[in-house]
Symmetry: C2
Subunit: 334 residues, 2 copies
């Protein structure tokens, strides 16, 4: 590896001069600067990020904590897409990504972050009650959280309340009043959606039917199917079922088909997420597509801004709306 010293020797100047020339300091003559840069280019010089980090205490590395029930979150469609977008933005700003995990050498998340010297951390898809996560959030490290709000931190959240609201208003506009909701695991996201479900019904003047809300899980089509059967067996069947995610909705579709009904003629189905697959199956799912690209982008911009100017805690909560994908799984009743 060619270092500053090599360039300095070749140019017969000091190392300091080379450093300053490459970093465009203004106390270096224009022609020496030019010459040094040419030689650097010719020698194929690239700075040593470790040395630079050691001296400047900034690594241009952003930690990413994406953990999902024992998995890394990479195989979770929603977070993979958020991360993809996040990564794209950070890259062009010269930041690389380091996954924070507690596996390696039995460090905690915070220890791992300190060890690697990341400039900041973005946290998502994680158990926010975890002691280690809390420690990280309360640490001096710049943090942006996704889909979870901490009062002392910047957060970017998908608009779950708005999403639920617009879905319900949409199906209601098509004439549905008996709207059931099979919802996911007990998390902040779920609580927001469920609250929005009740509020929106109320605003529309619909009385909630206790039999119509069932706690299920995320990404569990089997379970969703089971609860779908349960709903189908009610005397007062709903005309439309909302699911916690598209996979669950597919489980619902199957259960409905198995029970001898057809979607959307006999019963309407609504997903959540707007996964690619939801738009290629038949019937195409009506679902709410979260704006993963925007969430990732905003999170990236936020953490970078926070890193560059730690006092810029101006906006601490950014709501990212999504949009309804009108598929063919909801019937117009009126």
């Amino acid at each position: 590896m060619v270092s500053l010293k090599d360039i300095a020797d070749k140019c017969s100047v000091s190392i300091a001069t080379v450093s300053k020339a490459l970093n465009d300091h203004d106390d270096i003559g224009a022609d020496t600067k030019k010459h040094i840069r040419e030689i650097a280019e010719k020698l194929g010089y690239f700075p040593n990020s470790s040395a630079r980090a050691l001296k400047t205490k900034t690594t241009h590395n952003i930690g990413v904590l994406f953990v999902d029930e024992g998995r890394s979150g990479l195989t979770h469609d929603y977070f993979a897409r958020v991360l993809d977008s996040f990564k794209r933005v950070t890259e062009v700003s010269g930041y690389d990504i380091t996954f924070i995990n507690a596996t390696s050498q039995k460090m905690t998340y915070l220890e791992h972050a300190m060890f690697r010297g990341v400039d900041g951390v973005v946290i998502a898809c994680v158990d926010f009650d975890d002691r280690d996560v809390i420690d990280l959030i309360n640490s001096p490290v710049p943090v942006v959280t996704i889909d979870h709000v901490f009062d002392n931190r910047i957060s970017v959240v998908s608009d779950n309340v708005g999403g639920m609201k617009s879905l319900i208003e949409y199906v209601h506009s098509l004439g549905h009043e008996k709207i059931a909701y099979i919802y996911g695991d007990d998390t902040a996201v779920t609580r927001n959606r469920v609250a929005s479900y009740y509020n929106t019904l109320k605003d529309l003047g619909i009385r909630a039917n206790d039999n119509y809300t069932i706690a299920s899980a995320y990404r569990n089509p089997k379970l969703a199917g089971k609860y779908t059967e349960q709903l189908l067996s009610l005397r007062d069947r709903p005309t439309c079922i909302l699911y916690p995610d598209d996979y669950s909705a597919i489980g619902g579709l199957n259960a409905i088909e198995k029970a001898g009904w057809t979607v959307p003629d006999d019963i309407s189905v609504v997903g959540y997420d707007g996964l690619y697959v939801s738009q290629i199956i038949h019937p195409k799912l009506t679902t709410y597509q979260q704006n993963t690209e925007e969430i990732g982008r905003v999170a990236a911009k936020s953490i970078i801004r926070l890193i560059r100017d730690p006092k810029s805690t101006l906006i601490d909560r950014i709501l990212v709306p999504g949009k309804i994908l009108e598929g063919g799984s909801v019937k117009k009743l009126n």
Copy 2:
């Protein structure tokens, strides 16, 4: 951040002694060693990875080059799963992952790898004809490639030949002889599969029908649907269609349904990949599940072995077989 110096001061020993004590060198007394470690623990010491990397020239970082037609590969199911598995293995060995990209500061892949000082690189899902990729592969950096073979490098490849072969033998065993194959973009993977398609048919004594093989693309259900229609309109219709991936197969399912036929009664459909979604749709897809977990794990073990012992180029090509997932999309004819 607490450094070696802090510990040294507190213990009234030199920095060198602390370093050696923590690294378990044997020229440090047992009791001093113990004492130093206790203090280090109490002070919450963690080494500074940049300083260590600067000195030792090893970062315990592995570069990952996962690029997929302009995207990062994170949103590509197959590679997301491989990466997830890869990451899991590297983590427990104390290695972190750095995504290699050419976006940041207009570095080439190789430059980026050198800049970050990664100990090795794993490459997958990439255009292997790309000049920058070739440069990286021919560089002094330890490299393991996935699903592409270079004669001077270790590679881990999914058994595409075997996968295709077993799928065809399977449908043949159910009585199918008219087996069409809609295949993906022109890559090494595709060429292997297509070759295996012809070879297997030949071995089974079936004469290939030119109308039965159609070049399509990966993950393009629309296109797959179009070609499916084309196959359906043949005078001599196939009884079974193989697709390049599960998404395409879903596109096929839709096209078949739209044409008024049903799967598998009128025509059989076979996917590839064994995605989660392929197993929750109806009919459940018969498909070939690549062993992403094993591929990731083997790749991780290989690159780590190569990093630790650069001369260990013993095995240069590791074939990872998958398995057939028997769904309900293939009809038994005999």
